[in-house]
Structures are given as structure tokens and as C-alpha cells.
Amino acid sequence: MTTSYQLKRADFIFKYENDWEKILSKCISRTPQELINELISSELKGRGGAGFPTGLKWKLAAEVVDATKYVICNADEGEPGTFKDREILSMVPYKVLTGMAVCGYVIGAKEGYIYLRGEYFFLQPELNKAIREFEYYCKGINLDFTIRIFMGSGAYICGEETALFESMEGKRGEPRNKPPFPSSYGYMGKPTVINNVETLAHTYTIFKYGAKRFYDLGVQYSRGSKLFSVSGDTPKPGIYELELGMSLADFVDEFGDGDTKAVQVGGASGFLVPRKRFDETAIGFQGKLTGISLPTGGSMMLFNSSRSMFNVLDNYLEFFREESCGQCTPCRVGCQQLLMGIKAVKRGEKNAKYLDKLLRLTETMKLTAKCGLGQSVANSFSSIVENFREEMIY
């Protein structure tokens, strides 16, 4: 069993493999149950950041009886610091398309959609070409599955799955109440599996090489590899596939510029880890590894000592103030209060103790916001203010 938390590179996602036809044909010759079991035993968890077990997601949607179901690929990659999904869709679109079609076969869906963020408009022509070729092959093997691209139009919140459905239905991208969950009530009120681009690409790996190969990567509770989008103060920004479970210290050794002060894990909605906690922080999903374990959509932003954490937080909060959908009180008003609050403290209009009130507010936001975004916007605030309080004050 793997217990080390060292950084290990992997190379599955971007590995050029021109055998998708074979993989697809092979998959649909197996029973849906077999495929679900394969996924479940791989312990693949959603790569968008929330980490829901993919096999279970497919299983739940497969169990619902309905003539119309949908498979949706979430390519609304809007989390600051994340850019892996675009690379997957431009480099290895067939892996994603295959994952979608297999999912369609497993759950009994005939229609798939790729919700592509408006910023990636330029990907469309090539992706459409790939889709046409893919659909042509599906027809040839009598697999009734079509895929269409649905373009977003500039709204971060549409990455939240129910907001994404609303958006596809022609409405404001406002998250719905849950339950009901997408597996029973998704796009157009129909059972829907919605997976992140990278998750679907991993299913390709699993269906090709078997669950064990994937499972053997990573550590307990955090199996497999994952793409990391590395940016900020690093000599080598870019996208890297690494096994899950590495310690942040190892990561910084590899990607830092020698002066790394803090790393923001998981984008603006993630956590800031200060240097003193690099050793005890591991990157993966739930379950204690060493100290804390941080799930992530793969955004890793490094900051060196020249950076003001006040400015970093200010930037994040401005992002959320604009990108909150605005429907629920804690997120809409909370984001405004956090942003104006740190500015007021900085200017001396509020005293430093006001930060404690704001920290209490982040607790309320985490507890009460309607969707995952609202619940996580305060993460960066609490982790930055707790670790760099002095930078907030003067």
C-alpha cells in the first residue's frame, strides 16, 4: 500500500492513444453493471473539485427508470487558476467523448452535451469536428448517442451543476435547491450524469487499462492521478499530471521558485496554505493523511514573498462579489461585506477586531449558503485572514 506522500508524475491523460474506437466497442460489449463495478473499484472521484465517487454517480442515474436521460460534460472551467480542461478538450477530445458515450450506454442516455465556457469559444470548430467523427463511428457500431456543444456566456457559477442545467434551459444560471439531485432530476428535469472533463478522460484510462492500474496510483481515499494547473510565482507554470496524495512541501520543492510564501490550493474557492503548513498538508480527498488534506479541482497558485496577501484576498473577493449568482443572502451580501470589510480594516475605518466578526461571517456562509460555491467562497478568506492577519491590518 502506498503510504508515501511524494510527488509522482503520471502520464495517462495526455498520452496519445488512437484506439478510442476499440475501447468504445469493447465497453459496449460489456454489461452496464460491469462497467459501473469497474469504475467503483477504481475509486475514481470527481475531478471538478467536489470529489463525488464517479461510479456511484453513474450507478444512481442508471437505477432511475426514465426513457430520457442526459450525459453532460462540465467544461465550464471557471475556477481561477484552472486551465486543464481546455487542454484535454483540445489535445485528447476522443477520450472525453468516449467517456460520455460509455456513460450514456451505462445509464441509458442517448444525448450528451458539452457545456463549454464562453471564454473557450475558439475550441468549438475542432471539437465539433471530433464530435462529428465520433458520432459517425457510434452510428457504425449501432450506438445511439449524439453529442452537442452548449456554449456558456461568461458566468462562473454555471460550473455548479444545477446552475449549469438552468443555464442550458435558457435561464439565469442560479443553483437549485438540493435535493433533488441530478441523478434523478437534472437537465430538463430528467436523470442526468454530469461529470467534469477530466473525470471523463480518466474513465477512458480505467476502461482501457482496468481499474487496478488506476487504483494503484495515489493513496488511500485519493486514488489515481490528477491534472494540476500550476500558476503564479513558479518557474514552470503549466499543466502536470501527478498522483494524488503528495505533500504540499514536495510540490513546492518541484514547482516553487525557492521563495514560496503560500500556495492557494483549489482556486479562489479553495484554501491558502502558508509555508509553515506545507509539510503537513497533502493534496487529495477526504481522510486524514498527515495533517490536513485538501481536495482540489487542480488549481495550484504559488505566491512568493513579494506578494501581499491582502491584495490576493482582495482580488478573490472581488471575483466572488461579481460572480456570485446573487440569489442567496449569505453569498450575495456576505461577499460584499467581506470585500468591503477588509478594505475598511486596511484603511483603519474598522478596527482589527472586525476581522473576527468577518471570520464568524465566513462560518455562517459555509453553513448556510445555498450552493457549493456560496459555501466555499469564504474558504480563501478564512485561510488567508487566519494565517496572514497582520497583512490585512496594516
Partner: protein, 163 residues
């Protein structure tokens, strides 16, 4: 008939007239017109048998669906963290200086509009910007001036291949 009306009808023919076809139609109009005028929104509402307020409420939710008149080339410069750290402000100043407009404004000749936007997903090549749908990365003041000159020339040539 107003050409926008024709455009909206053909978009509705192409995508359908149900509520879930609204976004592609709004996007189609914006692609052509760069923004959604009051007139366009009313025509879309009429075509889809929707309340005009619903079209407006939906359109204003999305940052890329402009509802104010925009120039032919919409510059959207990313203002999120990494781009900010990597010199976005210098690039922005260079643009403002060259075009003589501020953020949210359009050049008097209607060629450029300048906007800031949230994360474009090019943090590893920051700073980044979009001009209409084309991406430019690793920007510097020099580089951005060159890019703008290219668009200015394109405009002079009456360039038909707007993106």
C-alpha cells in the same frame, strides 16, 4: 425589415423556439451585433413567446451578453489573480493610452471596446486577454500595442474575417 429581425428569425429557425434555445439565440445575436439592444431583446422575446423581462433578466446574468452598444472589437482583459500579479495593469494602461478610452468605454469610431473580465483560464500564460473570441497571452505593453495595431489595420482593410 430590420436586419436584426431577420437574424433573430433565422437563429430561431436554426436553434428552435423553446426556452432552452434562448442562450444560443442571444449568443448568435451578440456574435453578429456585439450586443443586445432593446430592440433585439424584444424581437427575441416575441419570436420565443417569452416575456421581454425574462429575456432581459437572463441576458444580464451573463457577462458576455452585453446589453450596451459595443465596438467592433471587444477587448476583455483578464483581471483575476495571476494576470493581476503578472502585469495586467501595465498592459491595461498601454491599451488605455493607445486607444484613449477607459474600461467600459468604446472608441469614438466604434472600433474597440475595453472591458475587464474574470479568469480566462490562461493563468500559466498571464496576462491574457480576449479580442472578441481570439485569445492573446503572455502580454506585455509592447505586445499589446502590436496586437491593437494589427486590429486597426484589419479595420482599415475592411477586414471581413472578424472573429
Amino acid at each position: 425589415m430590420n436586419p436584426v429581425t431577420d437574424l433573430i428569425k433565422s437563429l430561431a429557425d436554426q436553434h428552435g423556439r423553446s426556452r432552452h434555445n434562448l442562450l444560443p439565440i442571444l449568443q448568435g445575436v451578440v456574435e453578429q451585433e456585439k450586443y443586445l439592444s432593446e430592440y433585439s431583446m424584444i424581437e427575441i422575446a416575441r419570436e420565443l413567446d417569452l416575456p421581454a423581462s425574462e429575456v432581459y433578466g437572463t441576458a444580464t446574468f451573463y457577462s458576455f451578453l452585453e446589453y450596451k452598444k459595443m465596438g467592433r472589437y471587444i477587448i476583455r482583459i483578464c483581471k483575476t489573480i495571476t494576470c493581476s500579479m503578472k502585469g495586467k495593469n501595465q498592459v491595461l494602461l498601454a491599451i488605455q493610452d493607445m486607444l484613449k478610452i477607459g474600461v467600459g468605454e468604446t472608441t469614438p469610431d466604434g472600433t474597440f471596446s475595453l472591458l475587464q473580465t474574470n479568469c480566462l483560464g490562461f493563468c500559466h500564460k498571464a496576462p491574457a486577454m480576449l479580442v472578441n473570441n481570439e485569445v492573446f497571452t503572455d502580454l506585455t505593453p509592447e505586445k499589446v500595442r502590436e496586437i491593437l495595431r494589427m486590429y486597426m489595420n484589419k479595420k482599415k482593410e475592411g477586414g471581413s474575417y472578424d472573429n
